[in-house]
Every structure is written in C-alpha cells, then in structure tokens.
C-alpha cells in the first residue's frame, strides 16, 4: 500500500474515492480493470489498522462510532472507520438479495422498486462471489436464480439442519458466506470461533487479506487521517474534495468522485456540500435482529462447521410482504446464550436469529446539527416489522416441527444489526432519489455514491455482497460508457 502525505498529492486524479469499505474498493477494482493506468486517490478518515492490530486491541478501529456522531436516536449504529471499512467488522454472510427485494412496490404495493432488477446484478453478484471466495451450496438457485457453483464448498450443516433440510429441501439452505471452508493461499479455514468481527484465524474475507490488488495497485495513492468535509461543485460537476487532516484543510482534485463514507457520513458530506436530491440523509433504516432459542429433546446441536450454518426461506418472500416484512431465519451454531445448564443436556438447544425487513421512513434520518458531527435525531421501526416478528414467532413451531422441540423461547431484539441503509437512495430522478441505477448522482454526473446508503429498501438479507455487486456494475457501466 502506498500511503502518501498531503504534500505528495497529485494536482489531479482520474478518480478520487472517499472511504475504503466494500463499496469503494469494489468500485476501484472494476474501474482499474478497464482503466489500469488511471490515477486513483483514496481519502480515508481512519488509519490502517492491520488484522494483527485489531486482534491485539480487540477492536476494529481506533475511532469509536459514538465519538463521531451526535446520537439522539436511542440505539447504537455500528460501522468501522479505517482502511477496509466494513470488511473488517462484517460477519461474512454473503447472500444475494431476493429478486422480489428489487420490486417491492410493483409486486406488493409497499416500499420502493429499485431502478434495476436482480437480473441486472447477476453477473456482478457472480464476480463478487468469486473475489470474496464464497463458500456455499449447489442448490441455492432455487432462491437466487442463476447462481453458479460457489468458489468453495459449503460448510458443514448441523444435525438439526440436516433434519430440516430433509423435511424442506426447497426452504432450508446452507448460508453462503465468505469464511473459508478450505485453506486458501495460506489462510486458514473457519473453525467456528463465531467472533467474526475479530476472526482469530483470518478465515473471513477482508480488504487486507483479499484486496491487496486494489490497495497496493501501483496507481493507487492512499491518504490516511483525511476527513472529507465537503465536495466542491460548479457547473454541474464536482471539482474537488475538501478534507481536513489535523487542523489543516486540503483539496483533492479529480475527474470522477466516488463517495463511500458510510450510510451516515455519505449523506452528511452531501448535506454539508449543499448537494441535493430527494431524501439525502432521510430514510435511515436497519432491519430488526431478533433472537429465539428452541430447547430440544434429546437432539444434540452445535456440530456444524461454522458459526451460522443455515438459513430458512419459509418467511422470506410471498404475499405476506404486502403487510409485514420478509424474515430470513438464521440457524446458529454458536453459543449465543450458552449451553443448557441441565447436566448432560448441554447441547440440546438451538439458537435461531432472524432478520426482519422494514419500510424506510422519511422521518428517520440525520441532520447537520450545529457542530461537526451528524445528528441522528430519531429512529423507530414500523408496524410492518413488528407484525413480521409476531407472525414469525407464531410460525416457528410449524417450521421447526421436524425437530424434537421442547419449547421455543423468545430471547431479545438486538439494538443493532450493523446494516445502516437507505440514506442516499437510488431511483429514477431527483424527485424520488439521489442517484440513478448506475449509482451516479442525478445532476452531478461525475459523482458516484456507493455502499448501503444507496439501497431504496433494506432488502431481506445481509447487504455487503449486494454493495460489492452494485459497485462492480457501476464501475463497469461508467468505464464502458466513457470508452
């Protein structure tokens, strides 16, 4: 990696990228493939905290989230500031969104349609899965059409998963993830530690272990501790990114700008820059994250090959989405709440987590405040999500009926899932969104916004793979149109 001082900045760059998480790095990957001689500058607010540093300090970043937001929302917001961004802290679940997630308004009359379809993303999903070395099953096309064989074989199911798979082969699947299921290039496979944000064996995809081709590309300069304050636009184009390093302000000039801070800071930078579009900083959203335990009678659990082994699609899509959210059921192979305490029955418990999608509300969002931190004023989930939780708890006895279930016990709702979304949404025009289907700002045509902020809706599952695919697609479209 070439870390440069501000004194060594070029006069201008072909591409200036703000932030270095999934969205930014996959965009650069796609961009440099088509334009390998382009000069690229990454402006990263944080430092480069190596995997080793993160393990030694048991944190992903030296900048705590709460220190950089004025959080009045009553809930935490999880993100990582530093080289690699969310690739450091993610838990490496790598599902695609469901085709229906892209067409919620037209299929179910709620939420928003995306301005592109699942089919538009298929080749880029496939490419992203290859880059992050997804381990997954061969039968997943039943859920996500046209998914080719994953690069790595799936992790082992648990005994409970095998029973459920046999009972409902079209609804219970090994969850694809970017934790190695086999050793690759000196990296160890996952050994089910289930602390993926700080994976002790480096089995999980991170920018550091897998995107060195981007970070150490000879055309890429990285400027650390560079906090972008605003973008300077004139005559319909962004001209420079103004950033602060310490007490001094600097400018980075470029032809094309990619904004990939995160779903709080990307809209904040746009707002500080006076750059508009419908919903900049609004529609702040997260899925809900709910936990239950099924106490089992005589069936021993925790014998799978990774921390989360399977997911169940019984409640993922269907007419119920007209009135309540999609639910992805995740079958945990980790001691979420410990073993059972009855002697000899230690393993007779199955933790299940579920993600619940929600309809983004315009009232939820960030504002500039009067300091130098975004204010998260307010946040609430809607009945759309709450009704989904209720329906899931009612449906679980039937879904789990192939297992010897003694009881199903609600545990809690986590205060965050770590998927901050929807604050610079893509859509058809300035009247309904901030960016277009290629992630380009509707009026500033040399400004690309990447990351989870661009999602028009939360989608039913984890967003990182989709972020990567969207960035690859955007880079592909922009470089092809330019050439």
């Amino acid at each position: 990696m070439r870390f440069i001082e501000t004194t060594a900045l070029n006069d201008t760059y072909d591409l200036v990228v703000i932030g270095s998480g999934f969205g930014s790095l996959f965009f650069i990957h796609g961009f440099l493939r088509q334009r390998p001689k382009a000069r690229v500058l990454i402006l990263e607010w944080g430092r480069f905290n190596s995997h080793q540093w993160q393990l030694e300090n048991q944190v992903n970043s030296d900048i705590p989230e709460e220190s950089v937001i004025d959080n009045r929302s009553g809930k935490p917001w999880a993100f990582t500031i530093g080289v690699g961004g969310g690739t450091n802290c993610w838990w490496a679940q790598a599902p695609r969104l469901h085709p229906a997630d892209f067409a919620m308004r037209s299929r179910y009359g709620v939420g928003e349609d995306w301005p592109l379809s699942y089919d538009d993303l298929v080749p880029y999903y496939t490419e992203a899965e290859k880059i992050i070395l997804v381990a997954g099953p061969d039968d997943i096309s039943a859920v996500w059409p046209d998914t080719p064989r994953y690069p790595l074989p799936p992790h082992n199911m648990t005994t409970a998963d095998r029973i459920l798979k046999a009972a409902m082969p079209d609804k219970h699947f090994v969850v694809p993830n970017a934790r190695l299921s086999r050793p690759v290039d000196g990296r160890s496979p996952c050994c089910a530690t289930a602390r993926c944000n700080l994976c002790p064996v480096d089995a999980k995809f991170t920018a550091e272990n897998s995107l060195d081709s981007v970070l150490s590309h000879p055309q890429v300069d990285i400027c650390l501790s560079a906090k972008v304050e605003r973008l300077d636009a004139e005559a319909g184009r962004v001209r420079r990114a103004l950033f602060r390093q310490g007490q001094r302000e600097f400018a980075a000039n470029g032809d094309l700008f990619v904004l990939g801070a995160n779903a709080i800071y990307s809209p904040y930078i746009l707002m500080r820059s006076g750059i508009g579009g419908h919903g900049v900083g609004r529609y702040l959203c997260e899925k809900m994250y709910v936990h239950v335990e099924a106490k089992l009678n005589g069936l021993k659990h925790f014998d799978g090959g990774t921390g989360t082994t399977c997911f169940n699609t019984s409640l993922l899509d269907g007419e119920h989405r007209r009135t309540r959210g999609a639910v992805a059921l995740y079958f945990e192979n980790r001691f979420s709440y410990g073993l059972r305490s009855e002697f000899g029955r230690w393993r007779e418990v199955l933790p299940i987590s579920f993600y619940v999608d929600d309809i983004p509300q315009e009232a939820n969002g960030i504002s500039l405040g009067d300091g130098d931190r975004p204010v998260i004023e307010h946040f609430s989930y809607t009945d759309y999500a709450h009704l989904a939780i209720k329906a899931t708890l009612e449906a679980l006895p039937d879904i789990l009926s192939p297992l010897p279930v003694e009881s199903i016990e609600f545990r809690d709702v986590s205060s965050t899932l770590g998927h901050i979304q929807c604050t610079t949404r893509m859509g058809l025009s300035n009247a309904d969104s901030v960016i277009d289907r290629d992630l380009v700002h509707h009026t500033l045509r040399n400004l690309v916004v990447v990351g989870t902020s661009t999602f028009p809706s939360t989608g039913s599952v984890n967003p990182s793979l989709t972020v990567a695919a969207l960035s690859l697609r955007s880079a592909d479209r922009l470089t092809r149109s330019a050439s």
Partner: protein
C-alpha cells in the same frame, strides 16, 4: 388450592441488592467473592465433578477480565449477593429471570469449554483440567470437512 409461599425478606433483600449493584455499577467485589460464587455455582451445576480450587481460582482470574462489561457487572452483583445470602438464596431470588439465566449460562459455558470436560468419556472420573478460555475454535462439537 395451591398456596405460594411469599418470598422471604432475605430473598427480597438479595433481589434488591443485585438490582442496586446493576443500577449503580460501581461496587468493589473481591476475587474471593467471585471465586466463592463460582465454587457454589459449579457444585450446584456439576454434582460429582471434581474441580480443584486452583481451577476455580484460575477461572475467576480470567472472568474478572471478561468482556462484555454487562456480564462482568452482573457477575459482581451475583458474587456479592452470594457472599451475603448464600448461593441457594440467590438462585431462588433470581427465579425465572432471563437476565440471570443468561449470565449463569454464559459463565457455566465458559467454564466448561475452558476445561477438558467435553473430552472426557466420564467427566466425573477424574479431576478436570483447566486450560483457559479458547482464543479461537472454541466450539468443541464443531465438525469440519477440512479437519
């Protein structure tokens, strides 16, 4: 007709004590208190299993540094209550509390996987070896194709 015995004054005081410690956060609890709590808990949960004082002491030392903080605070509250009122009263006073059960299971699980308990065909046959909390690969039941 079933008559429920009212909670004793002692149990109510213990419940209040735990709540108070959790609310204020700031309380000094010695490692001897925590050891005492663990010793009682393990005797209750693992009857007939031979656990040395050295193992309990080492586990206590590890747990005094445990993350997340919420568990550490609950451990302090339970340890203090246990010293004052005894383990059985604490267990009765906490009743069906999920917060208590969660804490209890967290530390019991941590102890079990920090020893050779699951490697022994009969864990009552000999004294457990305490090896410390696993830094990685801590699920002794996980099955891998690559193994």
């Amino acid at each position: 007709m079933t008559t429920h015995l009212p909670l004793s004054r002692r149990q109510i005081l213990v419940g209040g004590l735990i709540a108070g410690v959790l609310a204020t956060g700031g309380v000094y609890v010695s490692s001897a208190d925590v050891s005492g709590y663990f010793k009682a808990m393990l005797a209750h949960d693992l009857p007939g299993v031979k656990i040395s004082d050295t193992a309990v002491h080492a586990f206590t030392e590890d747990c005094m540094k445990v993350r997340p903080e919420s568990f550490a605070l609950k451990l302090k509250a339970l340890s203090m209550a246990c010293r004052i009122a005894g383990y059985d009263v604490v267990k009765t006073a906490t009743g069906d509390s999920w917060e208590y059960e969660k804490t209890h299971r967290f530390f019991l699980t941590l102890f079990l996987i920090s020893t050779d308990f699951f490697e022994l065909p009969d864990p009552r046959a000999r004294e457990l070896n305490y090896v410390g909390a696993p830094i990685a690969c801590g699920n002794p039941f996980a099955q891998f194709e690559h193994a």
